[in-house]
């Protein structure tokens, strides 16, 4: 067991554990915090895979901006554990089972494929470095890049329009 492997398993356990906490926590604030931990775990995976740019972007954008936004909204609505009514027991069970079945089906589908035994390049690799990624972004994908700014603009306008108070 090399260090990378131990790290991999640890990060995986962390990610799965906090995901489970996300869906089972009573209080919404606990869920938000669990999701933040999940994002950190995933960023750890990214670093392990030497996708440095993405790791940092993940933390800054997701854990930093999006989750904070969620937290703001949760606080705004003053939600606490007792506020949420429980879903119908049968439906919950049905949802749980179908999700589980989906997992099993997909795993079983890939079980015998040869390709799943290919190795991934850990720790090393040039592709994840900021410079390389940036070069790709601004050479081949510059148009989507610019369009994403338009997307943000429209999202902002949309959000503002939606939340306007009716006169």
């Amino acid at each position: 067991m090399s260090t990378t492997e131990i790290l991999f398993w640890f990060l995986s356990a962390l990610a799965l554990g906090s995901a489970i906490m996300l869906i089972t926590a009573r209080s919404p604030v606990h869920s938000v915090l669990a999701l933040i931990v999940t994002f950190f775990a995933i960023s750890g995976h990214y670093i392990l895979l030497n996708a440095q740019f993405l790791a940092i972007v993940n933390i800054i954008v997701y854990a930093g901006a999006i989750m904070v936004l969620f937290l703001f909204v949760v606080m705004l609505m003053n939600l606490n554990a007792s506020a949420e009514p429980k879903k119908h027991r049968t439906l919950q069970l049905a949802g749980f089972i179908s999700g589980g079945c989906l997992f099993l089906v997909l795993v079983a589908a890939l079980r015998n494929a040869d390709a799943v035994n290919k190795t991934t390049e850990l720790v090393t690799g040039q592709s994840g470095l900021i410079g390389n990624l940036g070069r790709e972004l601004f050479k081949t994908y510059v148009i989507p890049f610019e369009l994403s700014s338009v997307l943000f603009l429209s999202a902002m306008i949309g959000a503002v329009v939606i939340s306007k108070k009716e006169k």
Partner: protein, 633 residues
Amino acid sequence: MDVLKLVWLIPLLPLVGFLINGLARNYLSKAMAGLIGSGVIFISFLLSAWVFFSLKDGQAPIHYFDFINVASLKIGFDFQVDQLSSIFLLIITGVGFLIHVYSTSYMHDEEPKNFAKYFSFLNLFVFSMLLLVLGANYLIMFIGWEGVGLCSYLLIGFWFTNNNYNNAARKAFIMNRIGDLGFLLAIFWIANKLGSVDFHTVFANAPDPNKFSTFDITGITLLLFVGATGKSAQIPLYTWLPDAMAGPTPVSALIHAATMVTAGIYMIARSNILYTMAPVTQTVVAVVGLSTAILAATIALKQNDIKKVLAYSTVSQLGYMFLGLGVGAYTGAVFHVMTHAFFKALLFLGAGSVIHAMSGEQDIRNMGGLKKYMSVTHITFLLGCLAIAGMPPFSGFFSKDEILGAAFAKNPVFYIIGVAGAMMTAFYMFRLYAMTFLGEFRGTADQQHHLHESPKAMTIPLVILAILAVVGGWIGIPEIFVHGGHRLETYLAPIFAQSNALQERNEMAQSKEIMLMAISVVAALAALLYAWNKFSRYKKSTEEEKGLGKVLENKWYVDEIYDAIIVRPVNAIAKYLNNVFERKGIDGFVNGIGRAVNYSSRQVRLLQSGQVGTYVLMMVIGILVLFIVQLFL
């Protein structure tokens, strides 16, 4: 100009008349409708006469177009113009024309559009009948056969507001259909054995034992005869003909005396070789014909409706024709068809004239002494009665005696019973004559006021038919009187050549033949005089018929028997099938499907709860199923 190129016009013109009168009936005046209706028949008559005079031997069938062309079965739309069909063409168009002219006056009380409808139906009938006799194969004949059945239904129920008339029409049609089934089965049998239904082919192959075994021929001929019993009102399918008197009198004259009911005779005469090859069927035909003749004659003895007497008389005379066919006297049967057409049409039209004068009265107990008021009708009616009674030198004598002579040659018993029937015929016809025209008038004073001779349009056809009834027999004078006098026999010889070659001609001694004729004439004359005497002094009485008289008056209760044995059970079965199978079974099934769809759709609708969570669940389950199907199945 070869008239054979124009033969297709003969049936086409009445068809055109039917279409014009039928489609434009709301716009045509009565004069126009009558003119078109009668005119097309007259032109067809002229063409038929031309055909008759320019006919040569050995005419091949005229092929117009391929009618049915399926696998190995080829049936063309062919016309066969030979001696037999040309005789029938003349009868149909000639007598038909006279009756059309008569109808223009008889039906003058109708509204213009009903008047035009009447003429269109009559023309359709003539068209179908012409198709029947012109066909060169059994299928075209069958088309005409069905067509005349349809027109019979339409015309019997012409005054359709009366439900009794409708029932009579329905009865006629249904009984016809029962016969038609026999005909159709025979056609199938022939087509199966031979692969063709052309007359040429069938008659050429008939004597060949490899093509037709005796069983085949007997079966085919019996089935064809079943068809004939339906159309020509023999036992057991005769009860529709008396009821068919519900139609207008000219219709009774044309369809139920002169033409449609003779279709069966024509068919058997045409297929004579088949019948000669099947002696068993011939015996059946003769026996059935004879029994029908006697049965109908007995019923006619006690009928009091002028048209019903004539109807039963028609059934009886048809029986004689079938007797003739059954003993092999094909020419005699066709001869009797011809003479019967003349005098029966004459009698019916005369009866129509009487009914017209009596303002619709048809019961002869309320008539009497009409000879003072309607001399033309009286004389012509008398001539018709003399003809039908078989008095020489009128036409009925020659044709009936030819049949009776041939019957004697086959089996003396046939002859004896035939003579008994002839006696009864003379008796009831002169009973009818005497009660109608002789003695004192027994009707109401109102009716007596209106008594008058009928207009020219009605009396002229009567006169023409009377002349034909008198002289029509002279084309068939037997050998013993004039050598070579039987012109009809020589004319029709090619048609019956095959049969005549195969069956033995019993040549009787001249003296024997004359004696047979004398016996039948004397017997009929005796009956005639007795009836004349008894009924010219008829007084109306209110006492009911008793005993045998009652049975005869009620037609041997045959209708009631049919009702009990056949009609009621069939109706009961139909009602059962309707209630159980139709309502509960099939309707239940179909409605059940509707109900099931309704129910399931209501259940499915509940899926749309509006809850997004449920929708997502369904989506996930769907994806799951898709994955499983795609990856593992």
